[in-house]
């Protein structure tokens, strides 16, 4: 007998579509946000006077690009107008597909340009564009690596709240080993090993002993903080000349590429860790989405029973993913000491592991999106820090809150509910 019935359901149901409640909420809140920011900018704009100058190169850059002076008032007002238009487009629901994406891009650019112009207009200093980019990269590097660690763990179904702890142990180990050996390579290897060992603790307790993974992450962070702090107090600090004098890390200049004006020195004259971070993003993407291993990792994070029924050793794959994640967390942690040529101090990672976790969730567990979110956070943080030096009217404490506020706004207004891998955090007992 053959399947001749015209009636069998063998194609996806083709339904009339309406906007889903979630999409509608995201659209409206995005639009409202744009309107508010646009209005705020317009209001601020009228008080703007003088030019805002943008220095395309750093003061001491070898190749000096011109400094561009933008007239404050008109630029801020135009940016405000663009933002308002985009916001109106979103709220009205008239924008679809590419138009919507373009509007969002334009609004984002207008918001940044408008506010920086407002802040820089009439100030005695110019806004250093190149340094803004360089600072973004420096701040984003460990976040990207930490988020990648989380991407690997959580796609395999192991929640990783312990990135902070992995960072901290790696930073400590790298600093100590680097100080003793005077070798960057040895330090990085040590940092990676520390990250992997912390990963192994996470794996052991979550996969073998089925400890609640969030609980475990919190405890591991505390453990890392206590352990590094104790050994630091007891052993390293009294002998800091031998044990805590990190060797300088040199920049590797990539010929030709580093000569590109503006971005060349930023992107192609960096330390090995920065290159590693940015190469890691496509590597992790490739591993996850194009290899046998990645397929298995994602399957055990989504439906471990299904993986089990086709003969995949769920626990082994989870172990592998968590340990592999440890490599990236180890590199990210090393950045805080070795990567910035800075000696270890207690709790040097100051919550960056949590920010990496936030980037991971905001990036919806996808390596590229998570990395972009890390870069977003780095960008806003650098912007806030840079604006402090422009003598803007905003108190410095408010500026320093900016990245955190921006993250809440982004996650509440633009991103909303995000779906984790289905088995994320669920121990496999089968």
């Amino acid at each position: 007998m053959t399947t001749t019935h015209p009636t069998t359901l063998d194609v996806p149901l083709e339904l009339d579509r309406t906007e889903s409640a979630a999409a509608r909420r995201a659209r409206l809140s995005t639009g409202a946000l744009m309107l508010v920011l646009g209005a705020l900018m317009a209001w601020l704009g009228f008080g703007t006077s003088g030019d805002a100058s943008y220095a395309l190169s750093d003061a001491f850059a070898a190749v000096q690009l011109p400094t561009v002076a933008l007239p404050g008032l008109p630029v801020v007002l135009v940016c405000a107008l663009l933002t308002l238009l985009a916001g109106a487009g979103f709220v009205s629901g008239r924008l679809w597909g590419r138009a919507k994406a373009s509007a969002a891009t334009i609004a984002a650019a207008a918001i940044v340009l408008g506010f920086v112009t407002w802040a820089a207009a009439g100030r005695p200093f110019s806004f250093p564009v190149q340094n803004q980019l360089a600072g973004t990269i420096a701040l984003a590097t460990p976040l990207v690596l930490g988020a990648l660690c989380g991407v690997l763990c959580e796609n395999a179904g192991v929640v990783n709240v312990a990135i902070e702890g992995q960072f901290l142990t790696a930073a400590f180990t790298a600093a100590t080993v680097g100080s003793v050996t005077r070798s960057i390579t040895a330090a990085l290897v040590a940092g990676v090993i520390a990250g992997v060992l912390m990963g192994a603790m996470l794996a052991l307790f979550s996969i073998k002993y089925l400890v609640d993974q969030v609980v475990l992450g919190v405890v591991l962070n505390l453990f890392a903080s206590g352990l590094t702090g104790f050994v630091f107090d007891q052993l390293v600090q009294p002998n800091s000349t031998e044990l805590n004098r990190v060797p300088p890390i040199s920049r590797l200049e990539i010929p030709l590429l580093s000569d590109i004006p503006l971005i060349g020195p930023v992107l192609f004259n960096q330390t090995i860790l920065v290159y590693l971070a940015f190469v890691s993003v496509p590597v992790v993407w490739f591993l996850l989405y194009r290899t046998r291993w990645g397929l298995r990792v994602r399957s055990v994070g989504e439906h471990p029973e299904a993986a089990d029924t086709v003969g995949i050793n769920v626990r082994a794959v989870r172990w592998q993913a968590v340990l592999a994640g440890g490599v990236f967390a180890g590199l990210g942690g090393s950045f805080f000491t070795i990567g910035s040529s800075v000696s270890f101090i207690k709790d040097i990672t100051v919550g960056n592991g949590f920010i990496a976790l936030a980037a991971l969730i905001m990036g919806r567990w996808h390596p590229v999106r998570a990395a972009l979110m890390a870069v977003f956070f780095g960008f806003v943080t650098q912007l806030a820090s840079q604006l402090q030096t422009l003598q803007t009217p905003m108190p410095s404490q408010f500026l320093l809150m900016l990245p955190y506020l921006a993250t809440i706004i982004a996650v509440a207004g633009l991103i909303g509910r995000s779906r984790a891998p289905k088995a994320d955090g669920v121990p496999y007992t089968g």
Partner: protein, 342 residues
């Protein structure tokens, strides 16, 4: 929390610092750090050095306790009372209340507090304060004279008065230079009008990486002489200077960085010194010798409680003319011909 009063005087710390003169006394000097701890490469550490100096000089016993949280200050001071200390030195304005309460309850013990002075002086507490604006003024003048870009910079660890006083003095020094020389040297990182500037996120005096980022921001705007006022995080400024290929120099604060940060000696033109160690040693000595008084000590250029450190390697790069001008300014400040607002 107050540990029970069972302790015998500490010996571990003492042995490492060198033994006292013969006939070690049973006079006990004690110190309570603030949250930074005695390894902060900054005022806790310098104050601690002052106590250690007193120990080797006077042959007394010492004892110290680090505070981990703000809430443990009172308990820690009390534990020193319980340990029968003769003089208790507390470090930092944050210990002001705990010190006051303890001093009022124990009129027989002498107290000294670093970086703080009470509006209504207490009989048995000596405030040790430092008018660092004075040497910072000189540093600002020097910085302006050294700058090739016409821009100099400063940043702080947190907007505390003990920090901003440096930044303000520095900016005034630059302004004075501009006035005298008719130049227009700019200061990034401090705005004298709003009394606000560039600070490390999280009020973090130990975040060297954050400090480094901040110093990089200043340099990207053309600052070529930097005064970091951020305790151990000031190292970030030195690093940026060292990696700048000779374009940037960075000063140091509290102690002479040429000596304490010797791996960066080549980029430190001078330091804005704050002789907390000397003040602490003096206070302990006074208590030991029964000449303790409650008069607030204000470190000034005049009494050398604050100072501009020697130029060391930069001796040759600073013109004799500038040196002479700075010497004159120092004299003018001492004489009161020039006043530095702080």
């Amino acid at each position: 929390a107050s540990p029970p009063p069972t302790a015998t005087p500490d010996t571990t710390a003492g042995t490492s610092t060198g033994t006292a003169a013969a006939g070690a006394s049973d006079f006990l000097a004690c110190m309570v750090s603030d949250e930074g701890g005695f390894d902060d490469k900054s005022f806790n550490e310098t104050s601690y050095k002052g106590m250690m100096d007193a120990k080797s000089e006077l042959g007394i016993q010492t004892r110290e306790i680090q505070s981990d949280t703000t809430a443990s200050y009172a308990g820690n001071v009390q534990s020193m009372v319980d340990a029968d200390c003769d003089v208790i030195v507390t470090v930092g304005f944050a210990l002001g209340d705990a010190t006051q309460a303890s001093a009022e309850a124990n009129p027989d013990i002498d107290y000294a507090i670093v970086d703080f002075a009470y509006d209504a002086p207490l009989d048995n507490v000596k405030g040790l304060t430092f008018n660092t604006a004075e040497p910072a003024f000189l540093a600002g003048y020097l910085a302006a004279s050294m700058s090739k870009t016409g821009t100099v910079g400063t940043y702080g660890g947190a907007p505390y008065p003990t920090v901003t006083i440096f930044m303000d003095g520095y900016a005034q020094g630059v302004a004075h230079y501009n006035e005298v020389k008719g130049t227009d040297v700019q200061v990034v990182g401090w705005n004298s009008d709003t009394q606000d500037g560039a600070f490390i996120p999280g009020n973090n005096f130990s975040d060297v990486a954050g400090a480094k980022q901040l110093a990089t921001n200043l340099v990207s705007q053309g600052a070529d002489v930097i005064l970091p006022v951020a305790g151990p995080a000031s190292e970030g400024g030195l690093q940026v200077a060292q990696e700048s290929g000779g374009n940037v120099v960075s000063m140091w604060v509290d102690s002479d960085g040429y000596l304490s940060m010797e791996q960066y000696a080549s980029v430190i033109p001078t330091s804005v010194g704050k002789a907390m160690d000397v003040a602490v040693t003096d206070a302990i000595r006074a208590s030991f010798e029964d000449s303790f008084d409650n008069e607030v000590f204000v470190g000034t250029l005049d009494n050398e409680g604050v100072y501009l450190a020697p130029y060391h390697d930069f001796e040759d790069q600073i013109s004799d003319e500038t040196k002479a001008e700075i010497e004159q300014l120092k004299q003018d400040i001492i004489d009161g011909t020039i006043t530095v607002n702080s």
